[in-house]
């Protein structure tokens, strides 16, 4: 057993170091080169991964955007150009019946200013015509010039010349005229009650 162990000691004893010349440097050089290669390979992989993700993003974006343009072939019928019809305007005289002897005053068709209407009212022969002009002047003051003071004055003159019939409300009355009519009516009723 002892001899056997001695033989084992001999067989398994550490071998004397016998370095082959140049092996150490060669191994170091090769491992360093491999290390540098691995480093660049890692960088290349990272760059490739970034590029792949970028390309994938572009691809997905392009794919998700759908069709932007589509070529559609439409059959075109060859037609002979037709002459464009010319429109001619022909003046035809039309007879319009005109009411004669009407009680309503014939108002001028042209548009007058509120001041002109007021002058016409001053120059009118009868109270009814004057009242009508005053009312139109009031409307003009109210709607075109927003001159409430003159409008109220003209409406007041209209109501003074119109008498009791002028106090009745009409669909075409402005809000100011309606208000003045109501006030005049109440004043009149109130005056009667006080007198009685």
């Amino acid at each position: 057993m002892s001899d056997s162990n001695d033989e084992l000691e001999d067989l398994l004893a550490p071998k004397p170091a016998r370095d082959t010349p140049g092996v150490r440097d060669e191994i170091l050089r090769r491992t360093e080169r491999l290390l540098i290669w691995n480093k660049w390979l890692q960088r290349a992989w990272k760059a490739a991964a970034v590029t792949a993700v970028f390309a994938l993003g572009i691809g997905v974006g392009f794919w998700r955007s759908g069709e932007r343009e589509k070529v559609v072939f439409v059959p075109v019928q060859q037609t002979v150009p037709q002459p464009v019809p010319q429109t001619q305007v022909v003046v035809v005289p039309v007879v319009v019946p005109v009411a004669i002897g009407s009680s309503e005053p014939v108002l001028p068709a042209v548009s007058l200013t509120a001041g002109q209407l007021e002058v016409k009212a001053e120059l009118a022969d009868d109270a009814k015509t004057a009242g009508t002009f005053y009312r139109q002047a009031g409307d003009k003051y109210l709607s075109e010039e927003q001159d409430y003071a003159n409008a109220a004055r003209c409406y007041g003159l209209f109501l003074a010349r119109g008498g009791d019939t002028a106090l009745s409300l009409e669909p075409g009355d402005s809000w100011l005229l309606t208000s003045l009519k109501n006030a005049a009516y109440k004043e009149k009723v109130n005056a009667k009650a006080t007198d009685g």
């Binding site: 092996v23 170091l28 360093e32 691995n38």
Partner: protein
């Protein structure tokens, strides 16, 4: 291995993985001689085989460096593991190649007394170590290569003296059997 060693080896590993050749050179210089001696022992003193195994071990270490975990063991032990596997593969390849060689004449079959006897012995040692399980190889390495006492081995392995002596005895017997097996 202390915690400081673990952290130092981890830092070196990370530096080398980041491409720091200076860190690699430091590591290489620290372990080259000892690993070279181990590989020579593992290859039974066959110089050409040891050179091939040593080179392949270092190249494999660079390729698989990311797999090295300092928490599981020291860098040198990791290198020894690679060297052991590399030596095993190289010796088996060498055995297959030897089997394919047939002497031309019966006279050529007789080896010369001086060199071939030593070479044959070295090949048998290397082949016998290849046949051993890892734990047998480890305890024989501690005993004969590192020249540790049984007490030191027991302390390092965290086992009792009896257990280590028993293990050593079984490892020796396994080696002898393997060594005799290759005495063809």
């Amino acid at each position: 291995m202390t915690n400081g060693d673990t952290w130092r080896e981890r830092a070196t590993r990370d530096a080398v993985l980041a491409g720091d050749t200076g860190a690699w050179r430091l590591w290489f210089d620290t372990h080259f001689e000892r690993l070279s001696a181990y590989v020579q022992w593992r290859c039974g003193g066959l110089r050409d085989l040891a050179d091939d195994v040593l080179q392949e071990t270092w190249l494999t270490a660079v390729r698989r460096l990311s797999a090295f975990d300092p928490a599981k063991g020291s860098f040198f032990n990791w290198l020894c593991g690679i060297a052991s596997n590399t030596a095993r593969n190289a010796i088996r390849t060498r055995q297959r190649a030897n089997l394919r060689i047939r002497p031309l004449t019966p006279k050529d079959d007789v080896p010369s007394a001086d060199a071939s006897n030593a070479t044959e012995k070295a090949e048998r040692v290397a082949s016998a170590l290849t046949e051993l399980p890892d734990h047998y190889e480890a305890v024989l390495r501690a005993k004969y290569f590192d020249q540790q006492t049984v007490e030191q081995i027991a302390k390092a392995r965290g086992e009792s003296l009896k257990a280590v002596e028993s293990l050593l005895s079984r490892a020796r017997q396994a080696f002898r059997d393997a060594y005799e097996k290759f005495n063809v």
